[in-house]
């Protein structure tokens, strides 16, 4: 189980760094909260019609904020050369990817969990349910998988601030659909079977892209 231990080490390192500097989680949280606040002005939140849009607002804000946070996270790492140091270590590339993915996933999951009560307060809609936890978990896994892969690929590009969102956001659109639809079924509709359909779709998406990313990561960091 040496690989599991290595994965945990890499993830723990990232989390320890984050606890000290608190960059990524604050970026994601701050940006998404700002977007929520802007939407309280621009949408008339008292009406039932605009409450239908709250899951969409939630996941859009999280997606944009995560793209920003990913940029920030990997930029400093590549600039200081620590990532190359990790590549030089005698660890398999998949282990590195899974370790980085785990770190990113934790940041994103914590940020979405904290955004849930913020959205509940701002929009008067109850997103505080057990199923929300499941949705956030499943969608965060998918976002982190593709996010980590794309971030490591694009952070060395000249125009990384536009390159990462341009790649990342179209590729994760099925996940956004799944998140919005399943959250809508929670809060507005009462169609539990649709909720299960979307969650299982998101799980399938996560599994598929996790496997593909692990296989393809090997090619993105070779020199």
């Amino acid at each position: 189980m040496k690989s599991l231990k290595t994965i945990w080490l890499i993830a723990k390192n990232d989390m320890a760094l984050e606890l000290r500097r608190r960059e990524v989680v604050l970026t994601i949280l701050g940006f998404s909260t700002l977007v929520f606040i802007i939407f309280t002005f621009t949408l008339d939140i008292k009406t039932y019609e605009s409450q239908k849009f709250v899951p969409g607002i939630f996941w859009s804000a999280i997606a944009f904020a995560y793209a920003l946070g990913l940029n920030k996270r990997f930029a400093s790492e590549i600039e200081n050369g620590t990532f190359e140091g990790l590549l030089l270590a005698p660890i398999s590339r998949d282990i590195i990817f899974i370790g980085k993915f785990l770190g990113n996933f934790c940041f994103l999951f914590i940020s979405t969990l904290i955004s849930l009560p913020i959205t509940t307060i701002l929009f008067n809609i109850s997103l505080f349910r057990i199923e929300s936890l499941l949705i956030c978990l499943v969608i965060s896994v998918g976002l982190s998988t593709l996010g980590t892969l794309f971030a490591i690929m694009t952070v060395r590009v000249r125009a990384k601030e536009i390159m990462l969102p341009l790649l990342f956001l179209p590729a994760i659109s099925p996940l956004l659909l799944a998140g919005v639809e399943s959250m809508s079924e929670l809060t507005i509709g009462s169609n539990y079977s649709e909720f299960k359909t979307w969650i299982s779709f998101a799980v399938a998406y996560d599994l598929l892209f996790f496997v593909i990313s692990v296989f393809l990561f090997h090619y993105t960091v070779q020199e």
């Binding site: 690989s3 398999s92 998949d94 599994l207 598929l208 496997v211």
Partner: protein
């Protein structure tokens, strides 16, 4: 670089994802019933006791069919002002019946898509003037061809530049030296 048990793990996760996908594959393409089209105007709208609305459509050769409107019927009709109104019958039943009665009184020809008994959609059989909206056709074809020709032009310019470069290289005496 991947150990065998890791490969097996990854392959099994991949197969699990395929399973999850296949669980979701409901018959999205259900068996569509045989679709028939009737072009005619409405002669009668009747709502019976079970709250189903039956309309009678008369075609140009005098044949009348009685067809039932069900809750999923799509309705897309134009008002007198020319505004297109689109809805599903179950969402606005009263307004749909009012608008259909308006179409009936103006003797507007409608296109009714049905399966022999219940209606799938009702819409205006417009385009009495077959030349209508020709500008859209023109714009689409013109822009498509302009884009394709612009791309080919750009590529041929690049090719010419490279050919010039190659010719220049070949004419220089140092080319012979480099390639010997």
């Amino acid at each position: 670089m991947i150990y065998r048990y890791q490969t097996k793990l990854l392959v099994s996760i991949f197969l699990a994802s395929i399973y999850f996908f296949s669980v979701n594959v409901d018959p999205i393409v259900a068996e569509t019933p045989e679709k028939k089209i009737t072009n005619g105007f409405i002669t009668n709208i009747v709502t019976n006791e079970e709250n189903t609305t039956i309309i009678s459509v008369t075609e140009s050769d005098g044949k009348t069919s009685n067809l039932k409107i069900n809750p999923e019927t799509n309705i897309g009709i134009e008002s007198v002002a020319g505004e297109r109104w689109v809805s599903i019958f179950s969402e606005k039943p009263q307004e749909s019946i009012t608008r259909l009665k308006d179409q009936q009184s103006r003797l507007i020809v409608l296109t009714v898509v049905h399966d022999g008994e219940s209606i799938l959609s009702i819409s205006n059989a417009d385009k009495r003037d077959l030349e209508l909206n020709l500008q859209y056709l023109f714009i689409v074809f013109m822009i498509t061809w302009i884009v394709f020709f612009a791309y080919i032009f750009y590529l041929s310019r690049r090719q010419n530049a490279i050919n010039r470069d190659i010719k220049l290289l070949k004419s220089q005496p140092s080319y012979e030296k480099e390639t010997k």
